[in-house]
């Protein structure tokens, strides 16, 4: 199956230093939180950006989802801080 695209926004993007990256598709049964933990374990900017999940929000294929959502066959995961529009 195709790789998963991850897109980052706001200070998550700045700390990681990337707008987006491709990762190997996680095991079936993996949640967003599982993948976030795996990415944070890389250390450096990833750890800085993704270490505190209380401050993280996510969207799968452009829909907001809780972090315990299964990634399934989604094509795009977005990780970002709570939104501040309006």
């Amino acid at each position: 199956m195709a790789a998963l695209t991850i897109v980052y926004f706001a200070w998550v993007r700045e700390r990681i230093g990337l707008d987006e990256e491709q990762v190997a598709r996680p095991e079936p049964g993996a949640t967003v939180a599982d993948l976030v933990a795996e990415l944070a374990a890389r250390g450096g900017g990833h750890a800085e950006a993704l270490g505190d999940t209380a401050r993280l929000r996510a969207a799968l294929d452009q829909r907001f989802v809780p972090l315990d959502t299964l990634i399934g066959d989604a094509r795009e995961l977005a990780l970002f801080p709570p939104v501040t529009g309006g």
């Binding site: 926004f9 706001a10 200070w11 993007r13 969207a59 801080p81 709570p82 501040t84 529009g85 309006g86």
Partner: protein
């Protein structure tokens, strides 16, 4: 009438309101958000998630149209670098019932605050920058709309 725009440029509030008034509804409510100055702020930079923004704002508008008997609505949200005094967001609603127009306008701006994928970065005169933190209050306000009616 449902008009949704996510754009870098400014917008013409008078034209939006005129289009809503022309629906013959009786009442037109609006809210315009403007960049506040002060504290040495020189600009606000609005980042968004282009692949998601338009569709998400569209969903929020559909939700408002399902909840209130609206004749029309218009939502415009800007992104990019905005200086103090610049307009950021516009919400306009038209209804035969003034309460529907006013409530749906409040609903839309509350939801945009907590459900639209925008992030604000502040730039100060001394070169400092900082991301605006989401207010817990705003998430609570948007959730509040789930419990009434």
């Amino acid at each position: 009438m449902k008009r949704v725009a996510v754009q870098a440029g400014d917008f013409d509030v008078a034209a939006e309101l005129a289009a809503l008034e022309a629906l013959g509804g009786g009442g037109v409510a609006s809210f315009t958000g403007v960049v506040r100055g002060g504290g040495g702020l020189i600009a606000l930079e609005l980042e968004h998630y282009p692949a998601m923004t338009q569709a998400q704002v569209d969903r929020i508008c559909d939700e408002a149209m399902a909840r209130w008997p609206l004749l029309g609505l218009s939502v415009i949200h800007r992104f990019g670098r905005l200086e103090p005094g610049a307009r950021i967001v516009f919400v306009g609603t038209a209804s035969r019932h003034r309460t529907a127009a006013l409530e749906s306008c409040a609903f839309l701006i509350d939801w945009l605050k907590s459900e639209a994928p925008f992030w604000k970065k502040e730039h100060f005169a001394d070169g400092a920058t900082g991301w605006v933190e989401a207010l817990a209050e705003d998430e609570v306000k948007a959730k509040g709309w789930n419990s009434d009616d």
